[in-house]
Each structure stands twice: as C-alpha cells, then as structure tokens.
Symmetry: C2
C-alpha cells in the first residue's frame, strides 16, 4: 500500500483513485488479468471508472516497467505486476490455465545471441505450452 504511494511519488504522476485501484488490483492478483478483467474489478472499488482509464493506466504502468504484457494467442493481452523475481509461464493448451515456473534458461543463451547478432540484449519473453495434469487424459 505504501509501495503504491511511493511509486506515484517517485514517478511524478498523480495518484488518482483510479490509478491506485488499478495498481492495487494488479498487485493483489495471483494471475494475470486482461484489461476487461481489471476494469470489472476496478468497478467494485470505483463504480464509475471507465475502460479508457484502465488502458491508459496500463500503458502508464508499463512505461515505468511495472507491468508485463502477456500474449497467449487469443487477440488480447494480459497484464501482471513485474515482480523482481524472474519466472515464466506454462500455459495449458486444454483449459488455458497458466502457471508460473521458476527459473530461466535464457541467460545461458545470451552470449550465443550476442555472438550471432551483436545486439545489446535487454530482455526476453518465454512461454511454454503443454497440457496440465487434468487435461492430459481428456485431449
């Protein structure tokens, strides 16, 4: 909660009711949320918030690297707080549930990329797909 106040103070952006609500929702959520889902939750806190504000706040938070934007291939993005612990998601192709997995193999790969491309590497995105234990029988 003080995190939230601190973030806005540090960023120089105004801490409005709407922004506070959205950031709270994202911080409290164990799963990642679509803009629509954030909007619905935010309405419980502040009934006349609008979707536009959700999108604008997402963009704001993302510009401060507070959020990760996640794509699972269904034409809409989902968002989650960019915690400092690094992890990736595994997504069930049956029921579409996502789970975090700890660890990351990418750093070991980066020197190879640098050698191949001379890029300055900033980050990466990795998602793994498969079937969760419950869906393995049914598909």
């Amino acid at each position: 909660m003080n995190d939230i106040k601190d973030f806005f103070a540090a960023s120089g952006c105004k801490m409005t009711k709407q922004r506070k609500a959205i950031l709270e929702i994202l911080m409290d959520s164990r799963t990642c949320l679509s803009a629509e889902e954030i909007f619905i939750k935010a309405k419980n806190i502040n009934p006349n918030i609008c979707l536009t504000t959700v999108y604008r706040t997402i963009e704001l938070l993302a510009s401060y690297r507070m959020l990760n934007k996640i794509d699972i291939g269904d034409n809409k993005y989902r968002y989650e707080i960019n915690s400092n612990t690094h992890y990736h998601h595994i997504i069930c192709m049956g029921c579409k549930k996502m789970f975090k997995v700890q660890g990351c193999p990418v750093p070991d790969f980066e020197s190879s990329i640098r050698a191949q491309t001379k890029f300055k590497i900033i980050g990466h995105r990795l998602e793994v797909y498969g079937y969760c234990p419950e869906c393995q029988g049914t598909v």
Copy 2:
C-alpha cells in the same frame, strides 16, 4: 513449388489459386508477415483476393502446423513458415526489425518444468528483445 502441391494433396484441402499464392508468399518471405502484408502481396498475384481468405488460409495452414504465429506486442500477429529447423527471434526495440537466432535453451529447461508442474510439454515461444547494432547509438 512441388512442396505446395504435395502439401495440399496430403492435407486433403483443395489447392486454390488463393491458397497457393499465400503459401508461396510465406515460403518466399525471409521475414514474417502480418495478415495485411500477406494480403497486399497476394493481390499482386491475384488482384481480387480478399482479406477474409487470407485469414482463413492462415488458420488452415496453422492448423497443419505449417505456420508460426508471432506476437511482438503491437496488437497484431505475424506469421512465418514453420521450418523444421528450430530457432527464435531477436527483435530490435528501436527499429522493430527481427532476426533469427539459431539454437534454443529451452529443452534444457523442460525437465525442471516437468518437475515443477507435471505438465506434458508440447512447445514454447521465446523472443529476445534488445537493440541492434545500428540502434545502439541512437537510443
């Protein structure tokens, strides 16, 4: 070219002018293409093709695992032929150009994922972000 005929024969789908054009375009393209870009190229071959057909053909080809669907975070997908060689992309955050990089660190990671989640792993998506040599100075 015979690849194309063979693919349609094997799949049992009809080989129409439109589908042939789209598959040719994807096979000849060194970069991945959005639906719109495929559509524009396809018009040069068959002027009265429509976007709907492009989308439907993309979906068809993807269902036969002929295509990879790529998301670079700008609200639209891009597609490329799923060659049997496995690689990933590095994307320049400056000029948005993409390059292939050979190799993949994910298989080494899979046993850890299996241990954590009991998932049956089918595939993965990995993109690396950074700045290309030309953009490193300018940003």
